[in-house]
C-alpha cells in the first residue's frame, strides 16, 4: 500500500530548525518503505531560501507558503494551509516537530480532520500502511505503541530522536498561496527572548542545575554548557525559587529533552525530573550526597560539591581544546 508523506518543517531566524532535517530524513525513509512521495511544507515570510535545502534531505516536492500574513505563527491560518496541502497531496501520514507551536498545529489539524495524533513519538514504523508510533505515557514510566486508525495519520516527534540523512531528491518547489481562511484571533506582539542560543529541546548537551545551586548564580553551570556547546536547564525546585525561568524547566511539568549528554548538577533525581531527561543517551550526575537517587539513573556519577567539580570539568575541557 503506497502512502504519501507530508513533513511540516519549522524554522527560526532564517534557518531551518534541526527538527526540519530530522522530519524530512524520516519522511524519506517512510516514503521509500511505502512507495509513496514525500512533500515538505514550509510556511512563513521570506522562507524561499530555506526551501531548496529540503530536497537535499529527500523531499520530492516542497510547498512554500511565503507571505507577510504568515510571518508569525497564527494557528488558524497555518492549520488551514496545512489541511489544504494534505488534501492536494493526498498525504496519509503527516510528520510534525515538537515545539509548542508544532504541537498546537498538529492538534488543530487533527481537530479539523476529525482524527487523532500520536504526540511526541520517539520512533515510528510502518505496518501494512499504518503507522505505529512509540511514545512515552505516564511521565515516561511506560512506553506505548499507538496506532492511528484514521487518515491522515498525524505524528509529532520529540527533538533529537530521528537520524538526519542526506538523500538528494528533486526538491521541486511549488509556491502556495496563503489560505483564504480568516483567523479567529489576533497576534499583537512577538517577544523573542533570546536569539542565537541553543534551544533546550534541540541541544546535544544539556547541563542542569537543581536546588543544589543554592541561588540564582548559574555561572559555573553556564560555563560548562558553553564549553560543551550545550544549553542550560533547571529542576522545578530551582524554577520555583525564582532562580531560572519556567522555560528552562525539565521534567514532567516542564520540557522533555533527549540530548546525547545530560549533566545534572545538584539535582536529587525526583521521579518528576527523571520524566524529562531519562531518555538522554548518557547521564552524568554531580551531587554531594552519595545516596542521592540521581546516581541510580546516571551512567557516570561524581560525589562532590558541584562548585568544586563543575569548574574543574570546565577547566579540563578547556585544556583539551
Amino acid at each position: 500500500m503506497t502512502t504519501n508523506i507530508l513533513a511540516i518543517v519549522d524554522h527560526a531566524e532564517g534557518k531551518l530548525r534541526k527538527s526540519a532535517y530530522e522530519l524530512v530524513s524520516e519522511g524519506r525513509r517512510l516514503a521509500d518503505a511505502s512507495g509513496g512521495t514525500l512533500t515538505a511544507l514550509i510556511v512563513g515570510k521570506e522562507v524561499n531560501a530555506m526551501a531548496a535545502e529540503l530536497g537535499e534531505y529527500g523531499a520530492d516536492t516542497i510547498f512554500v507558503c511565503d507571505d507577510s500574513c504568515m510571518a508569525d505563527f497564527d494557528a488558524d491560518l497555518y492549520t488551514a494551509a496545512a489541511v489544504e496541502v494534505i488534501k492536494t497531496t493526498g498525504a496519509g501520514i503527516v510528520l510534525v516537530g515538537s515545539s509548542p507551536t508544532d504541537r498546537t498545529l498538529a492538534a488543530r489539524m487533527a481537530a479539523k480532520s476529525g482524527v487523532g495524533v500520536a504526540m511526541e513519538c520517539i520512533s515510528a514504523r510502518l505496518r501494512d500502511g499504518r503507522l505505529i508510533g512509540t511514545r512515552a505515557m505516564y511521565g515516561g514510566k511506560l512506553l506505548a505503541d499507538v496506532i492511528l486508525e484514521a487518515d491522515p495519520q498525524i505524528i509529532t516527534f520529540r527533538s533529537n530522536v530521528l537520524n538526519i540523512e542526506k538523500n538528494g531528491k528533486a526538491g521541486a518547489i511549488t509556491p502556495l498561496a496563503p489560505p483564504p481562511a480568516e483567523s479567529k484571533y489576533r497576534i499583537i506582539e512577538k517577544k523573542v527572548r533570546h536569539t542565537g542560543s541553543v534551544e533546550l529541546t534541540e541541544a546535544d548537551v544539556v547541563v542542569a542545575g537543581g536546588r543544589g545551586m543554592g541561588g540564582s548564580d548559574y555561572t559555573v553551570v553556564e560555563a560548562l554548557a558553553k564549553n560543551l556547546g550545550g544549553a542550560v536547564a533547571a529542576s522545578r525546585s530551582a524554577v520555583d525559587q525564582g532562580w531560572r525561568s519556567h522555560e528552562d524547566q525539565v521534567g514532567q511539568t516542564g520540557k522533555v529533552v533527549s540530548p546525547k549528554l545530560y549533566v545534572a548538577c545538584g539535582v536529587s533525581g525526583a521521579i518528576q525530573h527523571l520524566a524529562g531527561m531519562s531518555s538522554s543517551e548518557v547521564i552524568v550526575a554531580i551531587n554531594n550526597d552519595k545516596d542521592a537517587p540521581i546516581f541510580k539513573h546516571a551512567d557516570y556519577g561524581i560525589v562532590g560539591d558541584l562548585f568544586d567539580v563543575v569548574p574543574a570539568v570546565t577547566a579540563q575541557l578547556q585544556k583539551m581544546k
Binding site: G116, E189, I271, A275, S278
Partner: protein, 262 residues
C-alpha cells in the same frame, strides 16, 4: 462571567504504574488519583478571573467515571462554585476525539464565556482535547499561556512559543490552555474541604447531552496497541579521584573514550 474548567483526574505522578493483563492499559486499583496538575492551574486562573471580575462563577466539568468526583471535589474545595460530571463507563478508556466531542456536547448546554483547560493531561500527554473542544464549538483557542487579562469582552494572553512568547487576543467566548508560570494554585483550607464534601455534584449521562453514536467509543481514532516498561540500563559508574581536577579528568576520559559523546 461564566468560566468553565475542563478537569481530568490522573494518576499521582508519584504512583507506581503497572501494566494490566491486556498489555495495553494500566492497573487502576492501587493508583492514587489526583487532579491533573495543569488543570489545577486552570482552576486557580478561573477563580482569579471571577474574583477580578467581581461576578460570575466557576464550573468544573469532567468526563469520566464516578471516581472522578474526587477530583471535582478538590476543585470545589479550592473555591469552584459548581461541579458537573459526565458519567459513563466508556469514558474511562475513551480516546481524545471521543472525550473532546463529549465535553463539547455538554458545553453546548452550559453557558460559558471562557473555557480553561490544561495544555495536556499528564497520563496520556496527548495535548489534544482542548483543540477538539474548540473546533466542535467553533471557538477561538489560545493554547499554552502564562498570562491572561480580560477587558471589553476580549481576552489577551501571553502564549509560549519556542524561544519566547507571543501576545495574542481573542473575543470571548474562547478556550485557553495553561502553562506553568500562569499562577500558583491555592491550597484548600480545612473548612473549605469539609464544605466541598457536602456539595452536590451534578451528573449528566451521555444521553442527556445528546451523544448517542456508540461508534465514537467502539471506533477510536487512536488506539494503544501495547505498553512496555522502558528498558534503559545505565552504566552506573562512580567516577573516583583524589581532587576535583582528577575526578573531572576521569569523567572526561569516560565521556570521550567509553561513551563517545564529547
Amino acid at each position: 462571567m461564566n468560566v468553565i474548567v475542563l478537569l481530568k483526574q490522573v494518576p499521582d505522578t508519584e504512583s507506581i504504574i503497572e501494566i494490566a493483563d491486556d498489555g495495553a492499559s494500566i492497573k487502576t486499583e492501587d493508583v492514587k488519583w489526583v487532579v491533573n496538575p495543569y488543570d489545577e492551574l486552570a482552576v486557580e486562573e478561573a477563580l482569579q478571573v471571577v474574583e477580578k471580575n467581581g461576578e460570575g462563577q466557576v464550573t468544573v466539568l469532567s468526563a469520566g467515571i464516578k471516581q472522578a468526583e474526587t477530583a471535582i471535589r478538590s476543585a470545589l474545595a479550592m473555591g469552584a462554585h459548581e461541579g458537573i460530571l459526565i458519567e459513563d463507563e466508556r469514558l474511562e478508556r475513551a480516546d481524545t476525539t471521543a472525550t473532546g466531542q463529549v465535553l463539547a456536547a455538554a458545553l453546548k448546554k452550559i453557558p460559558h464565556d471562557l473555557i480553561i483547560a490544561g495544555q495536556r493531561a499528564v497520563d496520556g500527554d496527548n495535548y489534544l482535547v482542548p483543540a477538539i473542544v474548540a473546533e466542535s464549538l467553533d471557538l477561538p483557542i489560545l493554547p499554552v499561556i502564562i498570562k491572561e487579562s480580560i477587558a471589553d469582552g476580549k481576552i489577551t494572553c501571553e502564549q509560549v512559543i519556542q524561544g519566547g512568547t507571543m501576545v495574542v487576543e481573542a473575543d470571548l467566548p474562547a478556550v485557553i490552555t495553561t502553562q506553568r508560570g500562569l499562577n500558583e494554585p491555592r491550597y484548600a483550607s480545612m473548612p473549605k474541604i469539609m464544605k466541598a464534601k457536602k456539595k452536590k455534584i451534578a451528573s449528566l449521562s451521555l444521553d442527556e447531552i445528546g451523544i448517542t453514536d456508540d461508534s465514537l467509543f467502539s471506533n477510536p481514532k487512536i488506539r494503544v496497541e501495547s505498553l512496555q516498561v522502558p528498558q534503559k540500563s545505565r552504566a552506573g559508574i562512580i567516577v573516583e579521584g583524589g581532587t576535583p581536577a582528577e575526578k573531572a579528568d576521569n569523567l572526561l576520559r569516560h565521556l570521550r573514550e567509553d561513551a563517545q559523546v564529547i
